[in-house]
């Protein structure tokens, strides 16, 4: 699948839509990525480097391939059987599209938060302990510590500490979403992928999650898909604008929002469509 054999951990400048200066470590390098759902060409020649300990936002109208791209980063997209991929994605310098790269391994290092909060129908505690447990951590004390730290990390500890053993479905949507973030933190990931994590939330919960993201970026690299441009503007360092499966523009967030170089970016940002 991975056609490109050369691996470029630090991608050189010169890619058409990348005006980002190389001053940080690259977490994800994407080169000439193409993806098809059957005949449907969903990602077209994506080349994009994502940097450490930053928030990278991906925006674009519905159906432009945002979710597809982010799901390619932890190979969840391959759950769709008709998917074909060409090009290369490297994570920390190693090509993840390579057959020899174990997805389970990749996914323990790259956490993911979804659009709709999707806690397991178990207790709050079990939700957070799930990851460590499958990775073989059985010691009750250690688990307790992991659960507390993760819930604190997701800024939800105070709200749930007295009901750790109640079902997670008793929580509000916003709490559930932070629980999912905690669940993700529990396996101490390197990168966190977020696919419209606040789109199902009310304004207050959205604010909380946004604050949390600002907090998390000190420790983790975060890639976030959002349809809310104001949100991208508020919380991200870099923004990529996708349209019809292509990256139209990728730059510092303030540049994208104040001075986009592509007419389509401007049209989108000013609400001409979408």
């Amino acid at each position: 699948m991975a056609l490109a054999s050369e691996k470029a951990p630090f991608q050189s400048v010169g890619e058409p839509v990348q005006n980002v200066q190389v001053d940080q470590k690259v977490v994800y390098g994407t080169k000439d990525l193409n993806l098809w759902y059957g005949k449907d060409h969903a990602l077209k020649n994506i080349s994009l480097d994502i940097y450490e300990k930053e928030v990278t936002a991906i925006i674009g109208p519905s159906g432009c391939g945002k979710s597809t791209y982010i799901k390619t980063l932890n190979r969840m997209v391959q759950l769709v059987p008709t998917v074909r991929i060409s090009g290369d994605i490297s994570y920390r310098g190693k090509s993840i599209l390579d057959k020899s790269y174990k997805v389970e391994d990749l996914r323990t290092r790259v956490g993911m938060v979804f659009q709709k909060p999707n806690p397991f129908p178990k207790s709050i505690y079990e939700n957070v302990a799930y990851g460590p447990k499958i990775h073989g951590i059985r010691n009750k004390k250690i688990l307790d510590q992991i659960v507390e730290r993760s819930l604190r990390g997701a800024a939800i500890w105070d709200e749930v500490k007295d009901r750790l053993h109640e079902n997670a479905y008793g929580l509000s949507g916003g709490q559930q979403q932070r629980l999912c973030i905690a669940r993700c933190l529990a396996i101490e990931p390197d990168v966190i992928l977020m696919d419209e994590p606040t789109s199902a939330l009310d304004p207050k919960s959205t604010l909380k999650v946004e604050e949390l993201i600002q907090e998390l970026k000190k420790e983790y690299s975060i890639i976030i898909v959002t349809h809310n441009m104001q949100q991208a503007a508020r919380i991200s360092d870099k923004t990529a604008f996708f349209l019809n499966g292509e990256v139209v523009e990728y730059d510092q967030t303030d540049v994208i929002f104040s001075n986009p170089s592509d007419k389509r970016t401007e049209d989108y940002i000013t609400g001409r469509f979408g």
Binding site: D105, T108, G111, K116, P121, G131, I134, R183, I187
Partner: protein, 318 residues
């Protein structure tokens, strides 16, 4: 826009006036609108009538039966000799026959059905699933008489190679074959339950680095538990009601035994035997048929209610 001018110019027809004019004549529409709910309700009542019919049919004759044979004797009697000179009407031989055959069937159907469901729902690709599922469903569609034939002429002789004491007619072979017949039912219902666990749950677990087995065992099965258990209960209910396989392959001995190598009779097979003989109306054996049928009906009725209750009561809210 030029197209719109058409609206103004070609006002040859005034739809609004036409509609108002027609409205006064639309009696049929109004009448239909009024009577259809009633017509459909009466049709819907046929299913209720059917149940009432079943219950009344069984009940009247059952009452007569119990006026002749004490309830206690019926439910605690271990001897069933309906046609004998000194008839005895203990239902226990039939109950054990029914329960044992259903138990054997579920012993086959539950593990295989569940594992099949897991494979189809969690592992198989769409293509494979679409190929295998209809093929499995053929198993459920094969007439039971064919299974009876199969149990009697094929499975029993094979089993006898391994189990020396096995009778030519025995409860084991039809039990196993019934289990095979029920596999698709358990598999299909369990699979439905598992695939209705939202994909977000699967994705959530996979994104944490779980293997498919872990996703299935720790997330999907617990979440789908009620549906899975309900499929087991419905499977049991099906096994209890199954008739032709046991009739053909287990013979008609009314042994009160727990030895699965022996011939036993189930409630259903008893009904076939007695109605096949069409016992003269009015004889005690004729009424016993209804008492057994009533017992069978209540048995399966409870099972079905139980399955409904389980799948409702314990339905997870995702």
């Amino acid at each position: 826009m030029e197209t719109n001018s058409a609206l103004n110019e070609g006002n040859a027809v005034n739809v609004r006036e036409l509609i108002i004019e027609k409205k006064s004549k639309r009696n049929i529409t109004n009448v239909l609108e009024k009577i259809m709910p009633k017509v459909l309700l009466s049709i819907a009542m046929i299913s209720i009538l059917t149940t009432v019919g079943i219950v009344l049919t069984l009940l009247t004759e059952t009452v007569e039966f119990f006026s002749r044979v004490p309830l206690i004797d019926f439910f605690t009697g271990t001897v069933l000799k309906p046609l004998s000179q000194n008839p005895e009407f203990g239902v226990l031989p039939l109950l054990t026959g029914t329960i044992i055959s259903s138990f054997i069937a579920m012993f086959v159907a539950i593990p295989i059905g569940l594992m099949t469901a897991i494979y189809l729902s969690e592992y198989a690709s769409d293509k494979v699933r679409r190929l295998l599922k209809p093929m499995l469903e053929i198993l459920a569609g094969i007439p039971t008489i064919v299974y009876g034939f199969f149990a009697f002429t094929f499975v029993t002789p094979i089993l006898r190679e391994f189990i020396p004491g096995l009778q030519a007619t025995n409860i084991l072979s039809p039990g196993i074959v019934m289990g095979i017949m029920i596999i698709p039912m358990v598999a299909s219902l369990s699979e439905d339950a598992m695939s209705s666990v939202p994909n977000s749950m699967r994705e959530g677990a996979l994104a944490l680095g779980s293997t498919k087995l872990e996703v299935t065992g720790k997330v999907i099965i617990p979440a789908a538990m009620s549906g899975i258990v309900a499929s087991f209960v419905l499977g049991i209910s099906r096994a209890i009601g199954e008739t032709m396989i046991v009739t053909i392959a287990s013979g008609s001995s009314k042994n009160f035994t727990f030895d699965i190598t022996q011939s036993m009779q189930t409630m259903t097979a008893y009904i076939v035997e007695v109605t096949g003989g069409d016992a003269p109306a009015g004889s005690t054996i004729y009424y016993s048929l209804y008492a057994v049928a009533m017992t069978l009906f209540i048995f399966t009725f409870i099972m079905n209610l139980l399955a409904r209750y389980i799948s409702r009561r314990f339905r997870e809210e995702y």
